[in-house]
């Protein structure tokens, strides 16, 4: 089972280490982690994707809540939220596959952000599954380098948001 934790924490040095340490010490998985400041400089948001059985996933939430630097923990299931990742990817191209790459980019809403004589840099911002699909599509063509962020997630908009 997968679960997404949206964790608001005090924006202090050492907090990332404390949260990551909690996961390693208690043998919890981190499938993905993304950290950034929120609209409030004093608060950061960590989006952590983890997997495990129900008891483990409940323990993760409780143990996170126990940390004194954690302000709030929201747990999100995939149906309840929008998830996004950003990926930059470099491919090597030649005149035979150039058209194919452009076509894939078109279908996958992927932007070409940079180009040289033999290399192209692509950028995609989408749900993690879409990003996996793009990688799969481009695997037949040669991928040189990949950098992707962790998953970001926010719960879907509702009138109860406040």
């Amino acid at each position: 089972m997968k679960r997404i934790y949206s964790v608001l924490v005090e924006n202090r040095s050492g907090v990332l280490c404390k949260v990551a340490g909690l996961f390693s010490r208690r043998c919890f998985n981190i499938d993905s982690l993304a950290v950034g400041e929120t609209d409030d400089h004093a608060v950061s948001c960590m989006t952590i994707v983890s997997s495990g059985d129900e008891r483990t996933l409940e323990q993760i939430e409780k143990q996170l809540n126990k940390k004194l630097d954690v302000i709030k923990v929201k747990t999100l299931s995939q149906e309840q939220c929008y998830t996004r990742e950003l990926m930059l990817l470099k491919v090597k191209y030649n005149k035979n596959n150039r058209r194919d790459i452009i076509e894939i980019c078109d279908i996958m809403k992927t932007e070409i952000v940079d180009m040289s004589k033999h290399f192209m840099m692509l950028q995609i911002c989408d749900a993690p599954e879409k990003i996996d699909t793009l990688i799969k599509m481009l695997q037949t063509i040669s991928i040189v380098e990949v950098a992707r962020t962790g998953t970001l997630a926010l719960s879907k908009c509702s009138e109860n948001d406040d």
């Binding site: 050492g14 340490g21 323990q59 126990k66 940390k67």
Partner: protein
Amino acid sequence: MIGADAIIKCLEAEGVSTVFGYPGVAICPFFNSILDSEIQTVLIRTEQNAAHAASGVARMTGRPGVCAVTSGPGATNVITGIATAFADSIPLICITGQVNSELLGSDVFQEADITGTVESFVKYSYLVKNVNDIPRVFKEAFYIANTGRKGPVLIDIPIDIQNAVIKNFHYPEEVNLRTYKPTVKGHAVQIKKVIKELERAKRPIICAGGGVLLSEAEEELRGFAEEHGIPVVSTMMGIGVMPTEHPLYYGMVGNNGKAYANRAMNESDLLIMVGARVADRAVSQPDLITRNKILVHIDVDPAEIGKNAGPSIPLVGDAKHIFQDFQKEEFSCDYEEWIATLNEYRSTMEKKRTPNPNYVDPAAFITRLSEKMQEDGVYVADVGQNQIWSCGYHIVKKGKFLTSGGMGTMGYSIPAAMGAKTAAMDKQVIAVCGDGSFQMSMMELATIRQHNIPVKIIVLKNNYLGMVREYQHYTYKDHYSVVDLSGSPDLEKLSAAYDIPYLRLNNMEHVDEVLDAFLAEDNTMLLECMIDPMDLVK
């Protein structure tokens, strides 16, 4: 006023009377300023014991114990003591000196990243980088250590911050922590549910853990149990919640506990676990405590509930508040049949020992000792076979029973007893250890002598690391490895070297006169009891 003066002011404001510590350059400003205060300092002989001694203070007073050590090796040495306190949820304030803040991270002499290193053993830690933060940090630290699920808090203070001038010292009256608001009051709906189950139950039992003692809820729990005739068992850390000979108390559970206590817990139809972690030594098979029964789990730490066993009724809150709320509820119940069954178990299932008459029988000795101890005497058990014998045969009356239950740290008893005695000079305090655990803390005999801390020490000597030897006896068929304690010092000569009176008991023949002599005065004394090296706890 400089930072170091401010720290002392904070400790004074918190009513701290003793600091256990070991100096080094990085904590010298602190130890210089403390000379101008009424706070007593005790020079411990190794840093680990400073934390154990502070733990003894905390467990006697219900307030955080304080220790202060230097940077680098001083700080790393204290970690085992902190981890011991953390495992048993004992509130500590541990102050560590640190190198100059401008040199942090450059691996200078005696620099250790202590806040990073100790992270998994503290409730919280601070690295103070601005002298003006000192009052707020200390106020928060004492509050965090002693509220909710208690635990150690470490404050790391670079030497330049201790020496920096602080403009306005003002000790805050309140803390303002947006991320920390422990739940102490139990949810009313959950409380009603528990009462309903008690009405329905035929075989209820309360299993009391160390959390009951930490929230000082002994009276409430006992009162509730007595009013409704509910039997009580305890974990190792819960020893002392009920007097051992209370008719409703059925002993310690767990793989080193009483067989009838485990049977009582397993056969119950309603188990109320309170302030206990459901850890492996108390409950080796968590499914047994949920099978065919309703499990109510009461704990101030929500993360403990459901961690090792899924309860039918989770109840987050402080034991004292919750039992006060239970006491307000009226309900009818009749558990007499159940009590009769348990009494039968208790009278028939006590294991018979076959002691070797040439040696001191630790079981009979410990029982005799408890009979002769003052009613409110403090018994500090170490770790090893001696601990299991102590748990099994010490009779608690009105006193406290202190031991390292969660971490099982050898060498705990002597420094913890020193801390306990310092905090309660009017009480009789006795440390009971084995010859292995004694040698882990025997350097503290000097501290006892230097500071005149009249704790009594009993060494159950069997020339082995007995607990491991026993394990090797069963698991490796007497293939003993690294458990022989030959080479240990002659304790009579050792006591003489420290100018500490010494007594020795070879067998049970003179137990009464030796114990009477040992307990006659409120002074330090060492009693060595010769135990059969092959004796077993099981």
